[in-house]
């Protein structure tokens, strides 16, 4: 009974991953979301070819008169309108989406891998190791991240990699606590106890028995992390470490648009916000689809 958790019972010879793929493909919402995400990525990669302006070029005729002259239109080539300085929002939104997708996906992946590994080890080993590892997490949670990011900026050259490091430094902490909590509980399940009793190595137990049972929670938490990461990037940029003008990100574009939303330039908010929402919506459905597909019990 206990081992059934990991032993394929539907069709022999099919691996866990093969099963998961089939189950994922049966989930219509998840498949649709994947398609939309692929289309979105294709659009932000190919779209700039059709842009009439570069991301930094100022349309001097529109500068300072965006509310009257900068509306989205096909006529003047500003498909998504212009920002207050007369720069093309089509080119900028596409570039910003690319940056934010990278930041969100890589940042969340780093947090996911580090947090899961750290939390699973702490929970599995337990005792004093667990205590010390978790106190380290407490310390890192309490240290003001503002200072850490400022220091990173002063010590290293500004680059995209530093954003990932800056985000990764904080993102994995909560994840590790969630994973440790689950691991503590899993440790007491019959199948783990049985595996230990039969002399399976610790690494194998974590890999074969603990991790698969963590996936559900981890994936859902990771899909929550993606929007958090994308928005946290704008704070890092505020401190000077993140994306620099003329480059941009969805967080920066949304913040700019939100500042002027009452002043008759609503598209400056709505267009980047729509891209952001679409991205996150896809992530959610893909996350839920993955969770359902990878759940070892769910069949």
């Amino acid at each position: 009974m206990a081992f059934a958790a990991n032993a394929p019972s539907v069709a022999k010879g099919r691996s866990l991953w093969g099963d998961a793929r089939i189950r994922y493909l049966r989930n219509r919402a998840a498949v649709l979301a994947s398609c939309v995400l692929v289309l979105l990525i294709a659009f932000v990669l190919i779209g700039p070819v059709f842009a009439q302006y570069s991301i930094e070029e100022i349309d001097w005729g529109i500068m300072g008169q965006a509310a009257e002259l900068g509306k989205p239109t096909l006529a003047n080539g500003h498909f998504f309108g212009a920002d207050d300085l007369g720069r093309d929002l089509y080119a900028r939104t596409l570039q910003g989406t690319t940056t934010s997708l990278m930041v969100g996906l890589i940042g969340a992946s780093v947090a996911l891998v580090v947090g899961t590994a750290y939390g699973a080890i702490a929970g599995y080993v337990g005792g004093r190791t667990d205590n010390i590892m978790m106190r380290i997490v407490d310390i890192l949670m309490a240290i003001p991240s503002t200072l850490v990011i400022i220091l990173l900026m002063v010590i290293f050259e500004r680059s995209l990699i530093m954003i990932f490091i800056g985000l990764g430094l904080t993102g994995w902490l909560t994840m590790s606590r969630v994973v440790r909590g689950q691991t503590l509980s899993l440790m007491q399940r019959e199948f783990v106890e049985a595996a230990r009793a039969s002399g399976v190595s610790d690494v194998m137990i974590i890999w074969r028995h603990i991790l698969p049972n963590l996936l559900g929670v981890v994936i859902v938490y990771a899909s929550i992390l993606v929007p958090e990461m994308i928005l946290a990037e704008s704070f890092i940029s505020f401190l000077g470490l993140g994306v620099q003008e003329p480059n941009t990100s969805l967080g920066a574009l949304i913040a700019e648009g939100a500042g002027t939303m009452a002043y008759g330039t609503l598209w400056q908010l709505m267009i980047p916000l729509s891209f952001f929402m679409l991205t996150i919506l896809c992530m959610f459905f893909i996350g839920d689809g993955l969770r359902d597909a990878l759940d070892p019990k769910d069949r």
Binding site: M153, G240, P246, G259
Partner: protein
């Protein structure tokens, strides 16, 4: 039912109308405006003030509070002219290094005790006391009061400061050098009197509402940090009869757009116009927008040391950058609050400053651009070069930097990298000359050109360009000794226009949304030293 309600409303209206004259607070004695019943002025401040202790305060918002709560020897009127405060007047000796102030005998602290010359002696000694370590103690040095520097350095006792109470109502100051504009400096918050007994009784807590005793037109009644502070009319103020506003409320609102929303909802009587929004607001709410010149300059520092950009060590390149910056476009379309395009560092509004005839002023932008191209070719940079421009994080600075970068790129082929930094990091980077071009802003400490031009003195603490020109240093030293140095200031400006250690961009304006009920705002005071007791609210 319907009819009944209508008649009830009519009755209400009728009684209200009958009652109105009885409630009115009267009319303004000078202008004759009908005064509103509710004389509360509510305004927005960007950040929490640092302190309301006159000798400790260091920020603009805090100084605004201090000017309402305390009163110094002299005040400013709506145009910035000197008018009596606690002192009814002053006299100087012939050498202009000893000033004697006569204090009025009816000045009172809010606890009823008299304001005397001893209070000023205590306050001024406190300002230079190393133990208090006032951040504006340098201002007392600038005032050239005898022994101030030695006391600050810990070499002499505070009691040796060149101030004395000859009697309760005569305050004498001895200076180390003749200072014609010394009385002007007594309008500064650092020189305001403080109540010795209260400070000794409460220590650092003396400025808390309930403890604080002050001698100005208002007393601090509430202070909720990062939320609001409230000051209410002080009935014991010697000129309380002329005070009209009963209550002044300062609300801390960090976000300028939220502040504007709350202004529009009627929660504020005054707020700043967000960058770039003036043209729209002046169309939609023409009676409420106010713009007036201020004593401040917005400019770019160029690093003149070897840590800077090699191309920028050539004066012709610096001139070219300055020429191609289209100030009209920036002030009309980017900042767009009536700022004045700047070709000199010192603002035109500065008292006694004659704007020199800088070449760039008389050219069209096309001519400037052509001249700049020539200069770049001469200097050997016909194809441009790479340069980094840093600014502290702010939407306004960012927009100007983007526009400037594009102007240089499109006109001169100069490849500009923009980099924003968090405030303290930025100050450190700029102060250590660890940059190529950096954004800067400067507001005058007093209304005279030297408050600006001292920045290009090679010895100045504030000379972030590290510009060093012995001729300029000598001229500025000479200017200190003259009664009218305007000719020298004009000449220094001309040298700056040639050497371009800084690129002036515009001179600031104050741009406010102000409720039409609020009257008497001193827009003619370029230092924006305003006093709530001169303001009033009109009836609708």
């Amino acid at each position: 039912m319907k009819i009944q309600r209508k008649s009830l409303t009519a009755w209400l209206v009728a009684t209200t109308m009958l009652a109105t004259p009885g409630f009115a607070a009267g009319t303004h004695p000078v202008t004759g405006d009908a005064l509103a019943d509710d004389q509360t002025f509510t305004y927005r401040i960007l950040d929490e003030h640092s302190s309301v202790d006159p000798q400790v305060v260091e920020d603009v918002t805090g100084s605004e509070l201090v000017r309402d709560l305390f009163e110094g020897l002299m005040n400013q009127d709506a145009e910035g002219n000197l008018v009596p405060g606690v002192a009814t007047g002053f006299a100087a000796n012939d050498a202009k290094d000893v000033y004697t102030f006569t204090l009025r005998d009816n000045a009172r602290w809010s606890d009823g005790s008299a304001v005397t010359a001893h209070d000023f002696v205590y306050a001024w000694q406190r300002a230079v006391d190393p133990e208090l370590a006032s951040p504006y103690s340098w201002f007392m040095e600038l005032m050239s009061i005898e022994n101030a520097s030695a006391i600050l350095a810990g070499e002499m006792d505070v009691s040796t400061l060149g101030v004395a109470a000859l009697d309760d109502h005569t305050f004498e100051v001895t200076l180390t050098t003749a200072l014609p504009y010394f009385p002007q400096m007594t309008t500064h918050a650092t020189t305001f009197p403080v109540p010795r007994g209260v400070i000794e009784a409460h220590g650092r807590d003396w400025t808390k509402p309930g403890n604080i005793v002050s001698n100005g037109a208002y007393v601090l009644t509430e202070h909720l940090p990062n939320e609001r502070s409230v000051r209410e009319r002080n009935a014991l103020y010697w000129n309380d009869g002329d005070t009209i506003l009963e209550k002044v409320v300062a609300l801390v609102i960090n976000d300028e757009n939220v502040a504007l929303t709350r202004y529009m909802a009627g929660e504020l009587d005054r707020t700043e116009i967000p960058s770039g929004q003036y043209p729209r607001l002046s169309q939609s709410n023409p009676d409420e927008t106010t713009v007036f010149p201020r004593l401040c300059s917005y400019y770019y520092n160029i690093n003149m040391t070897e840590t800077g950009n090699p191309a920028l060590q050539d004066a012709r390149v610096r001139q070219a950058l300055s020429l191609t910056l289209d100030r009209d476009l920036i002030t009309e379309r980017v900042t767009a609050s009536g700022q004045f395009p700047a070709y000199t560092f010192t603002p035109e509004a500065t008292a006694g400053f004659n704007v020199p005839n800088v070449d760039a002023m008389n050219m069209t932008q096309a001519e400037r651009d052509a001249k700049a191209k020539e200069l770049m070719t001469e200097a050997g940079y016909a194809d441009g070069f790479d340069v980094e421009l840093i600014y502290n994080t702010s939407e306004g600075h960012k927009r100007i930097a983007i526009a400037a970068g594009q102007m240089w790129k499109q006109k001169l082929g100069v490849n500009v990298t923009l980099a924003n930094q968090e405030w303290k990091t930025f100050l450190e980077t700029r102060g250590n000359q660890d940059y190529q071009i950096a954004r800067a802003g400067w507001c005058g400490d007093y209304n005279e050109a030297s408050t600006f031009l001292d920045l290009v003195n090679s010895a100045s603490n504030y000379n972030d360009s590290a510009y060093s020109n012995p001729a300029v240093d000598e001229m500025l030293a000479n200017a200190k000794l003259m009664d009218d140095a305007s000719a020298i200031y004009t000449e220094v400006e001309q040298i700056i226009a040639q050497d371009v250690p800084i690129i002036p961009i515009y001179h600031y304006t104050g741009a406010y949304m102000m409720d039409t009920d609020l009257a008497n705002w001193p827009i003619g005071n370029v230092e924006q030293n305003w006093y709530s007791r001169n303001l009033y609210k009109r009836a609708d």
